[in-house]
């Protein structure tokens, strides 16, 4: 048994931390976010030199063949530094879609493009009225006079703004699922770009009889098969979200500990008050529990037991949306007024955590999912 990081993983962690120390201080981050995009591009290019884009994928397709711990270790550092590359959505999600759904030829072609070229894809995972259930599809494909059409809505497409194309999953009347590649610049559908609370962008789309070519169908498969594959992909993605959140909580804990050790009121450090000490200890326990749950989910992935995997991932997400969220709220509280001022970094970690705690299902969704998995 070994649940600690190996040398390679420590190297990933340390080099990422060094990268962020040099390139993404809170001030640098603000500067990049308020500039025109050139600084952002530079940062991404620099980060790619470290091999981050290849890490999650097989060497056969130009990747570095990193295992789950390698990838989650890297993503945790993103959380701790509020990395502004939407890596999970611009690389990991489309990459995993390609890996699991595409045939061998397409796989080589597209993975190479997203790892090594500057081609970006965004996958539309959410729709209105299905809440968090990624298995449901209301977006329809239909044929009329041998032409293909799309009808339906997609929402919260993350990293769509920078993507060359979006991948839209949709279903036909015979329960076939199509993954359709759509040129993001097309004017033949409605779209609405907006900011979300972690300073990133998202786009909503509405296709109202949008015509596409047969060539744009990347994958066609039956619904049951789709469900099985999409479930594994999103478990992986949900773990990535929880790992990023773990980095966020670790950093919030550190910042808050530092704050209660330096902030003085009533002639002493506020950390000298027992009520504050106990709350900090509680926070410490929570972040340790969160890491332990993260380990358990990584193990469940490697063991290839779907039931255990589903349960373990849901436990991680429930923990994030309940205990970790409360700990984050406590971090703001202990910062007092400073906690609600946008100029302090603590609030930006809080917003990131708020976003991550809802993403791919809140605790309500995962409590039910756990129950169902436990019944099988």
């Amino acid at each position: 048994m070994n649940l600690s990081l190996n040398e390679e993983q420590l190297l990933i962690k340390n080099s990422a931390e060094k990268f962020f120390l040099d390139n993404l201080s809170f001030e640098q981050r603000n500067k990049i976010l308020t500039s025109d995009g050139k600084l952002f591009e530079d940062l991404i290019l620099k980060s790619k030199e470290l091999g981050w884009y290849g890490l999650p994928f097989d060497q056969k397709f130009g990747g570095l063949g990193g295992n789950i711990t390698d990838v989650m270790t890297l993503i945790e550092t993103f959380g701790a530094s509020l990395h502004i590359d939407p890596y999970i959505f611009s690389l990991l999600l489309p990459g995993k879609i390609i890996e699991h759904f595409f045939d061998e030829d397409k796989k080589s072609h597209y993975l190479d493009k997203i790892i090594n070229d500057n081609i970006k894809l965004a996958y539309c995972f959410a729709e209105p009225n299905i809440r968090f259930d990624i298995h449901k599809l209301n977006c329809k494909v239909y044929l009329e006079e041998n032409k293909y059409f799309l009808k339906g809505k997609k929402m919260l497409v993350l990293a769509a703004d920078q993507a060359n194309s979006i991948i839209v999953p949709a279903i036909d009347k015979d329960k076939n699922v199509y993954l359709v590649k759509i040129d993001n610049t097309s004017k033949n559908f409605l779209s609405n770009k907006y900011k979300i609370i972690d300073d990133s962008d998202a786009v909503d789309y509405e296709f109202d009889g949008f015509e596409f070519n047969e060539n744009d169908i990347l994958v066609k498969l039956n619904y049951d098969e789709y469900k099985k594959k999409i479930s594994i992909i999103f478990d992986y993605l949900t773990l990535a979200v929880c790992s990023e959140a773990l980095g966020v909580i670790e950093k919030m804990y550190k910042l808050t500990l530092e704050y209660v050790k330096t902030r003085e009121q009533f002639g002493k450090r506020i950390g000298d008050f027992q009520v504050i000490q106990h709350r900090m200890v509680e926070m410490y326990i929570i972040k340790e529990e969160m890491r332990s749950l993260n380990c358990s989910a990584q193990v469940s992935f490697s063991n290839n037991d779907p039931k255990e995997r589903i349960k373990s991932i849901s436990l991680n997400k429930i923990f994030l949306d309940t205990k970790a969220k409360e700990a984050a709220q406590d971090c703001i509280q202990l910062h007092g007024g400073m906690g609600v001022a946008n100029e302090m970094s603590i609030g930006h970690f809080f917003k990131k955590l708020t976003f991550l705690s809802m993403l791919f299902g809140d605790s309500d969704y995962h409590y039910k999912r756990y129950e169902l998995a436990d019944k099988i």
Binding site: R131, F132, Y194, K195, I196, Q265, G337, V340, A341
Partner: protein, 400 residues
């Protein structure tokens, strides 16, 4: 024991309802309902309309131009105003400095300031916290040195709500460094147009500009602007704080917010495609929230009913602040859950961008959900943080 309203109370309730339907435009009602920013002009004209009907200062004595309403009428008024999505009254004038002036002010101070507060001609802000003095307010360092018949004031005040609009600031300053820290504090009123005042915005998590840092540099303030006596400001501040604790519970606002949350839960679907309101897990959480809110409402009513008998609210009022603020936060959190993915957009940033076709994608009720959640984090911090309120309860009520 009953809370039945008298015939007279019910007539009053009708009067308030008529007033609201006549004076609140649909546009303003919608802005309040979806948490959009209300302009200074809108707030002032609403407050002036209330004053015209003698509904603006329900707790003020008649001799000062108030309505001197009974506790039950004040409760009715609060509820009706909150449930009808009317703009929140800015408390710094009418509920904070007003009662202080009535209690401690000189006749000259009263006759100058009170009518202008009533008519919303003066916008007030509160100069309490300082960068180094938050929970430990008594450690404040802003200095006021008497020179002839003027004080020369130097220091920094922070978290000052809506100081950018303010004509006047009531302020705690240090006039003596001797004795206990509380003993050297004075309560003074500062004209915001005075030379040497700089107001710097602080942007909060939701992206809004509501609070400020106020720099005071050699600001000259006439000696007559002091309230009560020099070095007795702490007494005044404590009087004010106990007033604030009762109004800060925001029961009416929370009842209104729960009503809105229920409407959302009657439209949104859960993960299985049923109405969210029928989702057992969600419903239980909503009911728990309503239980706590009902307890808060009746705790407030019990305190009001004592007040009706002439018993002023004591330190117990701290419990209203603690629970009231927590409930406000929990409502916004549950509303986040209710609207799902709609809830994580940064609507303040988006309202500044071109969003010509955005309504097609997002229901109105989801507007500003995240902004409200983020903004409400302040409630357990301001007005004496909840930790400080617990200290008050433990010391003053429990005797620990």
């Amino acid at each position: 024991m009953n809370i039945e309203f008298s015939k007279n109370d019910l007539e009053f309730q009708q009067k308030v309802r008529n007033f609201i339907s006549k004076n609140l435009s649909n546009e303003l009602r919608n802005k309040v309902a979806n948490g959009s920013e209300i302009t200074k002009e809108e707030i002032i004209s609403w407050q002036k309309a209330l004053h015209k009907e003698n509904l603006f200062a329900p707790g003020w004595k008649k001799e000062f131009g108030g309505a001197e309403l009974s506790a039950s009428k004040r409760y009715i008024l609060d509820q009706e105003l909150a449930l009808a999505d009317t703009p929140t009254i800015i408390p710094f004038g009418v509920t904070m400095i007003g009662p202080v002036l009535m209690h401690y002010g000189t006749p000259k101070q009263q006759s100058f300031f009170l009518p202008k507060i009533l008519n919303s001609d003066h916008w007030w802000c509160q100069g309490y916290s300082e960068p180094g003095s938050g929970s430990d307010l008594a450690s404040l360092k802003t200095k006021a040195i008497l020179k002839g018949d003027k004080y020369i004031i130097n220091g920094t005040k922070t978290w000052t709500t809506l100081a950018q609009y303010a004509d006047w600031m009531f302020c705690l300053v240090r006039t003596s460094f001797e004795g206990k820290p509380q003993e050297g504090i004075s309560f003074i009123m500062i004209d915001m147009k005075s030379k040497g005042i700089t107001v710097d915005p602080i942007i909060t998590l939701d992206g809004a500009h509501e609070i400020n840092t106020v720099y005071l540099e050699d600001v000259e303030v006439p000696r007559e602007n002091i309230i009560f006596e020099e070095n007795k400001g702490w007494t005044v501040a404590k009087f004010l704080l106990s007033h604030e604790r009762t109004s800060i519970a925001a029961v009416g606002k929370s009842i209104s917010a729960v009503k809105k949350l229920k409407q959302i839960a009657n439209i949104e679907l859960n993960n299985e495609g049923s109405l969210l309101i029928t989702d057992k897990r969600f419903r239980d959480r909503l009911t728990t929230l309503e239980m706590d809110l009902k307890a808060l409402e009746f705790t407030e009513l019990r305190i009001l009913s004592e007040e009706n008998k002439g018993v002023a609210p004591g330190p117990e009022a701290s419990l209203l602040k603690i629970r009231g603020s927590e409930i406000q936060q929990r409502i916004t959190e549950l509303t986040m859950n209710a609207v799902g993915y709609y809830g994580i957009s940064n609507d303040l940033a988006n309202s500044n961008a071109d969003r010509s076709n955005s309504n097609q994608f997002r229901p109105d009720y989801s507007q500003n959900t995240a902004a409200n959640y983020l903004n409400m984090r302040k409630t357990t911090i301001y007005g004496g943080s909840n930790e400080i309120q617990k200290n008050i309860l433990s010391k003053m009520v429990l005797g620990l």
